[in-house]
Amino acid sequence: MSVTPPLATVRLRVNGREYAQEVPPRLLLSDFLRYRLGLTGTHVGCEHGVCGACTVQLDGEPIRSCLMLAIQADGADVTTVEGLAPGLDRLHPVQEAFRLEHALQCGFCTPGFLMTVTAFLREHPGPSDEEIRRELAGHLCRCTGYQNIVRAVRRASLMLTGDTARATPGAAGDAPSAP
């Protein structure tokens, strides 16, 4: 057992890099990522677990970083949206699918969606539309881009399973009809 003094050390890995920092126990993981590590891709919306914008992956599983203390992540492996793309000139397939399907306008909610969707498609490679919608229900998008986000997840699922014919731009399942 350890009673934490005003500051305690948290050691963790974020996007493959090791960090060790002194933190007050009440510092949220979301604020730790943004203000201490400068990883501002993790967005902070409601700060009580409803909006999903702050979702990151903790040991590969999506969690709300606003509902966890930084100190609780001691020893953990965290992935944020900054850790998705394989390189500066290449997007992760889910990011690419969001871009192709115009699944974002302002982009505030997008990092949270991406962290949920990448984990979701790892576990469910070919989800039904109902499964996609149920999974997305944990995220709020106030530009109301949900239809395009569903399409993006569908396209990402095809891209990740190597169905290049249907994943090619303009060829996805039900592309928006012409005006």
Partner: protein, 289 residues
């Protein structure tokens, strides 16, 4: 920083947690998955002097078969239980209700014991526990005691836990042969708290109902166990008439609250509809076993 300042203690065992509660009483709060407590702290609705973090207590995280049922350690993540083969086969009602608890990201942190000890009146797990007559093992300085689910839930966000006690384990009985169960809820959005949720278990012998169990969430301060409705069902075939009579007997005395999500009248109506649907589905599944 959003949460108020607090002293933080990461305990390594149940004994250490109990000692912390004994020493600090009301001023200490147990931190389980944090999916209810952290929002409460972020909004500063509570200002505990000391947080006792249970997340490093590995001994409180397990799912094992025991005495004709399944024992689940209080710190077992909801997502772990949702993925458990044992839960799926032995306690299918729990397996069916779990995906309705919040969202994936919530269940990855949220724990079985945390949800039960928080006792939200619209939550899924308390209703499942009450429907199945789950047993709650509680530890305090004086030792251990076991409570029936119906004794555990006392009122709105209120349980039989003393400030110096913690919920250590929940035991769910395995489904009997010839039994079908169903969880049905209606929420504005998947993962939101239910407007109304219904847990139903039906055991058939031929076409006759031998046992029936019904619990409704979202309509009172605690899950409503519908004993009168169960009596109406037992000993008769499961028919449209018997299910309607059972639903009516539950619906009529309900006094749910109006809130921004739904009126009391709508909730009462919904309870009647969902009870019939849940009984129908549980009956169909009982016939298939």
């Amino acid at each position: 920083m959003k949460p108020p300042a607090f002293e933080y203690v990461a305990v390594a065992s149940t004994e250490e947690a109990v000692a912390q509660l004994a020493a600090h009483g009301d001023d200490a709060r147990l931190l389980a998955g944090g999916q209810s407590l952290m929002p409460i702290l972020n909004m500063r609705l509570a200002t505990p002097g000391r947080l006792v973090d249970l997340n490093r207590v590995g001994a409180l995280s397990y799912i094992v078969e025991r005495r004709g049922g399944v024992a689940i350690g209080a710190m077992t993540r909801q997502r772990t239980a949702e993925r458990s083969e044992l839960v799926a086969t032995a306690v299918p009602l729990l397996a069916e209700a779990l995906p309705w608890v919040g969202h994936t990201a919530i269940r990855n942190r949220g724990t079985i014991g945390g949800s039960l000890a928080h006792a939200d009146p619209a939550a899924e797990l308390p209703a499942v526990a009450v429907c199945l007559d789950a047993r709650f093992t509680v530890r305090g300085e004086a030792g251990e005691r076991t409570l029936a689910a119906r004794e555990f839930f006392r009122g709105y966000l209120t349980t039989a836990l003393a400030p110096t006690e913690l919920l250590a384990e929940v035991w769910f009985p395995s489904a009997l042969p010839g039994t079908g169960s169903a969880w049905i809820e209606f929420a504005r959005r998947h993962g939101d708290y239910a407007l109304v949720g219904v847990a139903a278990v039906v055991t058939l012998e031929g076409s006759t109902v031998r046992r029936a169990s019904l619990a409704v969430t979202g309509v009172d301060g605690v899950p409503v166990r519908a004993i009168d409705a169960e009596r109406l069902l037992i000993g008769a075939p499961l028919s449209a008439e018997s299910m309607a009579a059972a639903a009516e007997s539950v619906r009529r005395p309900l006094e749910p609250q109006d809130d921004i999500h739904a009126t009391a009248a709508y909730r009462r109506h919904l309870a009647g509809i969902l009870i019939v649907r849940a009984l129908t589905r549980a009956g169909d599944r009982a016939r298939l076993t």
